[in-house]
């Protein structure tokens, strides 16, 4: 789906029932995004909760210039970064890789690894910035402009970062 179509369809639910539907749709995506970024299950759940509270409280401020998903993922991303700051970013990032790695002896079980195990291992090897652009582009399916808005950097930087990130990820997967 292109950006224009997603934006034209953007509506923030105003009643609780419709919002519950929105929660069911976004909860798995935000939760998995956080887990893929190395957050613990409890932290990922916390990010989902504070994100959805912020979406509900801020529903009157939503600008239809952006896609609803971009707005929500943007809030989720910033809530995740806030949590990293609270917990100490370095410690969180260091433990992130460990959380993503499957708890198995690498060589003996490499044949039995699932696609999720392999992807998590590879993502854990990427830098935080590279992991984020990969997930935003290929998991959330966001445009360059949307990623630029969420990450707060120019589109040229996003393109360059994504180019290097996917090269590294391809290499990690082929070697894994």
């Amino acid at each position: 789906m292109d950006e224009e179509k997603r934006i034209s369809g953007a509506v923030v639910p105003q009643d609780e029932e419709a919002f519950a539907e929105l929660f069911r749709e976004y909860y798995p995506r935000i939760f998995r995004y956080c887990r893929a970024n190395g957050l613990s299950e409890a932290d990922a759940q916390e990010v989902v909760q504070v994100t959805m509270i912020a979406v509900w409280k801020g529903r009157g401020n939503f600008q239809r210039r952006t896609a609803l998903s971009t707005w929500i993922f943007g809030i989720a991303h910033h809530k995740m970064v806030d949590l990293w700051r609270q917990h100490g970013r370095d410690a969180a990032v260091t433990t992130a890789a460990k959380r993503l790695l499957p708890n198995r002896a690498e060589k003996d079980f490499s044949e039995q690894l699932t696609i999720t195990d392999r992807m998590m291992r590879a993502l854990a090897e990427l830098s935080e910035k590279h992991r984020q652009v990969i997930l935003l582009a290929f998991y959330h399916g966001l445009s360059c402009r949307e990623m630029s808005a969420i990450l707060g950097c120019p589109m040229g930087t996003i393109k360059s970062r994504l180019y290097h990130a996917k090269e590294q990820l391809k290499e990690l997967i082929s070697n894994g």
């Binding site: 292109d2 798995p28 893929a36 992807m119 582009a137 949307e146």
Partner: protein
Amino acid sequence: MDKCAQMQPLLPFYVNETLSSGARTAVDMHIRSCKDCFTEVLDLQKLAIMVKVGVEGISLPEAKENEQSGEELARVMIGLLFLGISIGLHYRDGQFPIDTKVSVLGRTINLK
């Protein structure tokens, strides 16, 4: 800058289908005649699917809860099994030797 260098940064967004129609047409035209960029698009499609499938495979807490409830059920089943064994061991001469005297809050009550 050659055409490939211009197109390469657009290819991930061509694959995730977020390019504007103009840019998409430009990439379409280019990959028809450029084998390297076409191969890169195929690689990116494969990578995008792997990311999508890989991340979608991360289990949600509900799934874990189901696993836990499965464990709980298993515990209950094992408990029932041991209860059955215990009853079998106490069965004597067609009846269970039940002690009818029960002690409750320091008082002994005879259930007979």
